[in-house]
Symmetry: none
Subunit: 528 residues, 2 copies
């Protein structure tokens, strides 16, 4: 057996307690995996590589500090985001002087995480804008009436913004409900796009309760929204992957609540790890971060490393846009251009909102970018959009009906399915109505109604799953176990596992019956 694949985590560890760096590293390798006193760890856990393995230890540039690499078995992450975070920094977040500085994940784990659905290339295809940074403007402040929020969206789109995002504080407040404001803002952007011929994208903030996330995502997708703004630490990091994969939404991540990870440069995570590598891997197409020289304290080099982490080649993982923000303004465009280059999203708020004419202000912003980079516009990639793109699977993507009213042995919205006879499983005159189980219900069973025409019969077959049959129209015969069993109104018949059986209608009127089977069931086998 080949040994299970491993991934590497790079740490900067500062030692100030007189213990050796090796002891510190061993503590981490245990804390993040088996979390037991050394004498209690089963020997097999070391042998099987379930405990973290110290790969390298070397002195770091910082005083008292060491660069340490520990590897972990990929499968202990369950290939899920929550458990990956747990292994990376769950318990050791509660220690001191341990800083995550990098990650190296092998293809299997990269593939499980998936990375950006669109990435830089995909968002350029959606917007049609190439060879320059995308211009993004924020709808704000929280608390404006919905019509003013929509007016801002309209102004920004008509002014030529490539992307428009909600302020991250605009969620589902009673004074601007998610459904209403997203509908109005997307409509405003659609209208502007129709007149400009561009494809400005609107990213509403999605920060609902756990049980609102899917509903809000569906609402957004149905309204034609192509991307959303998400604070991974606010709603849970795996939601980024979920929105990206399930709904085909582009995701712009917001760093809200992440700050304590970066604050102490001897502990936590480098911004390039959390806002860079990790947010990209879980699916961020654009990662917003506080640029150096704004209202926050990221250093110039931290921002550079972050941008690099978002765009560095990784097998099978698209590159993501860095979006330097946090008090940026038009005067700083040349500096931002030098620092981040064309493959960036520039986010400017106050400087555009301050102007009375927001259309003109937005145009100045985009012109400022064009003046530096020029511009290459291409026709926008036309994809199937909105509800058509829904990935939840045809018939299961619908509201489940409360009552299927019966009229003359037909049920509303449940078509009759008629199969052609099959050579291996011959039957005659059988019509089927799928009633429950294939229309969004989550039952462990399916309820069907069958009707056999006079003289008709089902195939003689057997299977492991059982049948429960309830006669409701006319009468018929169940041939089973060497017997001919009559089934009349409301008789309940049971077909045991692997019991060969066949149903006949020897009468002169239709024989109708409900049939209940396990949802998960084996294929019928012919009986000869």
């Amino acid at each position: 057996m080949t040994s299970p694949e491993r991934f590497c985590v790079h740490y900067l560890i500062t030692v100030r307690d007189g213990r050796s760096i090796e002891e510190h590293a061993r503590d981490i390798s245990i804390e993040q995996t088996v979390e037991l006193p050394e004498d209690v760890i089963p020997v097999s856990h070391h042998r099987d590589g379930l405990v973290g393995r110290i790969e390298t230890v070397s002195a770091a540039a910082e005083t008292d500090a060491f660069a340490v690499t520990i590897s972990y078995r990929c499968d202990i992450t369950a290939f899920t985001v929550p458990q990956l975070l747990n292994v990376l920094f769950g318990n050791i977040s509660l220690k001191d002087n341990i800083r995550l500085t990098g990650l190296d994940l092998p293809p299997g784990l990269l593939e499980a995480l998936g990375g950006p659905r669109y990435g830089i290339d995909g968002l350029r295809r959606l917007t049609g804008v190439y060879s320059r940074p995308l211009a993004c403007t924020p709808i704000k402040p929280m608390g404006l009436p919905v019509n003013e929020l929509a007016q801002l969206a309209s102004d920004f789109a008509r002014g030529g913004a490539d992307l428009i995002k909600d302020d991250h504080g605009i969620t589902d407040q009673a004074f601007h409900r998610f459904d209403e404001r997203v509908a109005r803002c997307q409509e405003a952007v659609d209208n502007a796009n129709a007149s400009t011929g561009r494809n400005t994208l609107y990213f509403p903030m999605l920060a609902g309760r756990f049980d609102q996330v899917d509903a809000q995502a569906r609402t957004a997708v149905r309204l034609g929204v192509r991307g959303v703004l998400v604070g991974p630490l606010l709603v849970g990091c795996d939601i980024v992957r979920h929105l990206s994969r399930e709904y085909g939404l582009a995701v712009m991540t917001h760093p809200a609540l992440t700050g304590t990870f970066f604050h102490d440069r001897r502990h936590g995570m480098a911004p390039s790890v959390l806002l860079g590598t990790l947010f990209r891997l879980i699916g961020a197409d654009i990662s917003i971060f506080p640029n150096a020289g704004g209202r926050f304290h990221f250093s110039h080099s931290e921002c550079q490393e972050l941008a690099t982490a978002l765009r560095a080649p990784l097998p099978g993982i698209a590159a993501a846009f860095p979006s330097p923000a946090g008090g940026m303004n038009l005067q700083r465009l040349p500096e931002m251009a030098t620092d981040f280059g064309a493959d960036s999203v520039f986010l400017v708020g106050g400087d555009v909102l301050r102007q009375k004419d927001r259309v003109a202000a937005t145009r100045s912003f985009v012109d400022g970018i064009r003046a530096i980079f020029g511009e290459n516009l291409q026709p926008v990639e036309r994809e199937a959009v909105s509800a058509c793109e829904w990935q939840g699977g045809g018939d299961n993507d619908r509201d489940v009906q409360d009552v299927l009213h019966c009229s003359d042995y037909h049920w509303h919205d449940r078509p009759v399915v008629d199969y052609k006879p099959d050579q291996t499983l011959p039957f005659v005159g059988v019509a089927r109505h799928e009633l429950i189980g294939r229309y969004g219900e989550q039952t462990a069973f399916d309820l069907r109604y069958f009707e056999i025409a006079p003289g008709g019969y089902t195939s003689l077959e057997k299977h492991v799953h059982e049948h429960v049959i309830i006669g409701v129209r006319g009468s018929g015969t169940l041939r089973m176990n060497g017997k001919e069993l009559a089934i009349g109104l409301h008789d309940v018949a049971y077909v045991a596992p692997l019991q060969p059986h066949q149903i006949h209608n020897p009468g002169s009127e239709p024989f109708g019956f409900f049939c209940i089977v396990d949802r998960q069931r084996d294929k019928p086998q012919p009986v000869f």
Copy 2:
């Protein structure tokens, strides 16, 4: 119009840049609400109280530091956990020298969050253990075969542990899948409970992907699990509220990934705020934290304040158990007893796992607690009973019948089961016939026939499992989702997961219907 209700946030702010404390406080009040340069904020936003208001500023005990209280309108949180976190500490997490030290929420916001479903009192009713700390032992390490995990669960339960939790690193890894290991561990605990007469509770770790959370919760509930272990920062804080409210699960929270909030005592949040007040408000019944003197760096007074925050009186919010952990051992029981008192959960791992005889080791642990506190055992709280529940009877060791012939809405060999009304789940005039599922069949579903007498009704209840109902005699009414749905002959009704529902017979003849449910299903919860 009365002005909207506000809540207060208390900060410790350290000033080291020569600016005034008032300027710092104003920065926060804006950053966390409208996030705009001062000159761009609409005047009406100040008038309407949408910007944070500085309530008090005073010098703090710490050098250079001030205690500041800022109030915010409750409705800007959208009364949701993600947006509350955002307002509390979203952007300012990225600043320096701002520490959240306390919260005062008015009743409206407290009610929206809800707090623990069980709390200290509720978990004592479920376990029957009063007047001493509950003893909790962890199933670990991650990577053991499922049969060994289940053996540990069995040993702990037979040894008398009150609570058994998974290690927080045990999730859904391929070598111990969630469904299998939870089934096996719960079964082991059930078997042990049957022999001890106690009601040890098992808390599996729930850390699935966003789209696995509900499925894992359903699996757990169907298996009879009453509580789960959750890392709020790993999966998203609102999941605690969701699991507690939707599934009636008790929740034990784990501090994984929270550490950077506490690490710098001039920034972040006091442990009493995040692991205490906030985790309690979002629904933690038990909050695990690293006790002083273990492997982590919380101070003695931080732990005391945390325990106080979990148990302090709050209108309408149950008190939660503090669970000091992180390298605790049997020698420390007296000290933990002094520090945390009877209303605590003591978590001891290595010291119990180190012993060869884990039953005896668990018994020593519980005896150690009893030696200090004594013990008051009470009968375990009986649960509500619904007409819909299976109450035993039937016969699985018989030959399964081929056809149950129906005669006047009775089926041969299937007696009518009549339940007495129950105080907690009241119903009137409901007769039940178990037709398929309890007489030797191996279906994944049960088929029952219910008949409601004129004027009768079932209890108003909800549950994770779904109902499929087929009207076959007379007619009745399904009350669901604010609607009154008529059900007549062969109408098929579907009741979705967790949808409160009740069936009435307003007519003058019996209303009879088939009802199909999953075999493995959760107990109905009353709806008030």
